[in-house]
């Protein structure tokens, strides 16, 4: 059998790196070849010497403080139930605060707008209609005037409808304003 001492398989065999089939093949060669046995024995000596040499190196580890930091980091973070409830309550309170801070200003604005609209709907004492757009050129005011006129028109329409509303007996009557 032709033996190649330079083949890495001998080292792999000594170091237990071969699979079952490869190991069986090598063992067969070892049985039949004295040269193969010699090669393997030399590799065994060299590897055991290397292992001894590396084992001589002082076992160095982390400093106690460093080990402590790692162990502390690895510790599971247990939260006491009271703190868990506090966290839940805090979250709910924060949520409510956000909702309130968003909704209250808009609610106030709509209420103020309603008050302004009501005031605008009250007719002047002398019965004359003012034209705010003439006196006030501000865009905001113009918009208010527009809204007011729109509302007035809607109210007039509603009043007209009320004048001709049908009573329960079905006869059409006029109602006083």
């Amino acid at each position: 059998m032709n033996i190649t001492p330079d083949d890495p398989k001998w080292t792999a065999y000594v170091l237990g790196e071969l699979n079952e089939a490869e190991r069986a093949q090598v063992e067969q060669e070892l049985e039949s070849s004295a040269l193969a046995r010699e090669v393997v024995e030399e590799i065994r000596l060299a590897t055991s010497m290397l292992k001894r040499e590396f084992a001589k190196e002082q076992m160095m580890g982390l400093a106690a403080a460093q080990r402590g930091v790692i162990r502390a980091k690895a510790e599971p973070t247990h939260v006491r139930p009271i703190f868990r409830w506090a966290a839940v309550a805090g979250s709910v309170a924060a949520g409510l605060f956000v909702v309130a801070s968003l909704s209250i200003p808009s609610l106030l604005r709509s209420r103020q707008a309603a008050v302004e609209t009501t005031a605008a709907l009250v007719p002047p004492v002398d019965g004359t209609r003012t034209t705010p757009s003439e006196s006030d050129r501000d865009l905001k005011k113009q918009r208010t005037v527009y809204n007011r006129q729109k509302l007035e028109a809607e109210i007039q329409q509603a009043q007209r409808r009320q004048l001709f509303r049908l009573p329960p007996d079905g006869t059409a009557t006029t109602t006083e304003r």
């Binding site: 030399e42 590799i43 001589k56 400093a63």
Partner: protein, 172 residues
């Protein structure tokens, strides 16, 4: 779940701490820097999901440690050659028990020093850290065949040198 992770990290620390410090010290040539690198390696492990590491814990630890050590070296712009394993402290407290043994060992160190860096690294990972060819290949990004070849070549060189040395001694 959290307890299991904690146990897993502590077990990893107990098993690999020493090997990682020695490996990082070999790369950096500085024990304190090596300890910092290994601490950072384990802190990163704490942030990692055990399921993601799976049964590749050794490869994961050595790869992270190796990358961090090389980053430190790069950052510090260390142009000086690496301190070799031989320069690291040894536990041998019996210096004169066997002169021949000591001579042989010092020769082993001398021969190891002459080996290329990649051969020394795979030898260290194999014989000191007890990793398999496959694990070494994942850490060093070399193929398994290449790892086997490097280890075989390193051992062959050392064997040859040691035989020459013993022959010389016999002649003397």
């Amino acid at each position: 779940m959290e307890d299991a992770k904690s146990t897993w990290i502590v077990a990893a620390l107990d098993q690999y701490e020493g090997h990682l410090v020695r490996y990082a010290a070999w790369i950096l040539g500085d024990l304190e820097r090596a300890r910092e690198v290994v601490q950072e390696t384990f802190l990163r492990l704490c942030r990692e999901q055990p399921a993601r590491v799976g049964d590749h814990l050794a490869q994961w630890l050595f790869t992270v440690c190796r990358n961090l050590a090389f980053d430190v070296r790069k950052k510090e712009n260390r142009m000086s050659p690496l301190k070799d394993p031989e320069t690291l402290p040894t536990t041998c407290d019996r210096p004169a028990t066997s002169l021949e043994h000591e001579e042989t060992m010092s020769h082993v160190l001398r021969v190891m020093e002459t080996l290329p860096k990649n051969q020394r690294e795979v030898l260290r990972l194999k014989f000191q850290c007890d990793l398999s060819y496959k694990e070494i290949s994942e850490i060093t990004k070399l193929s398994v065949t290449n790892v086997g070849f490097l280890i075989h070549t390193a051992i062959k060189t050392m064997r040859k040198e040691m035989l020459t040395e013993s022959a010389k001694r016999r002649i003397q």
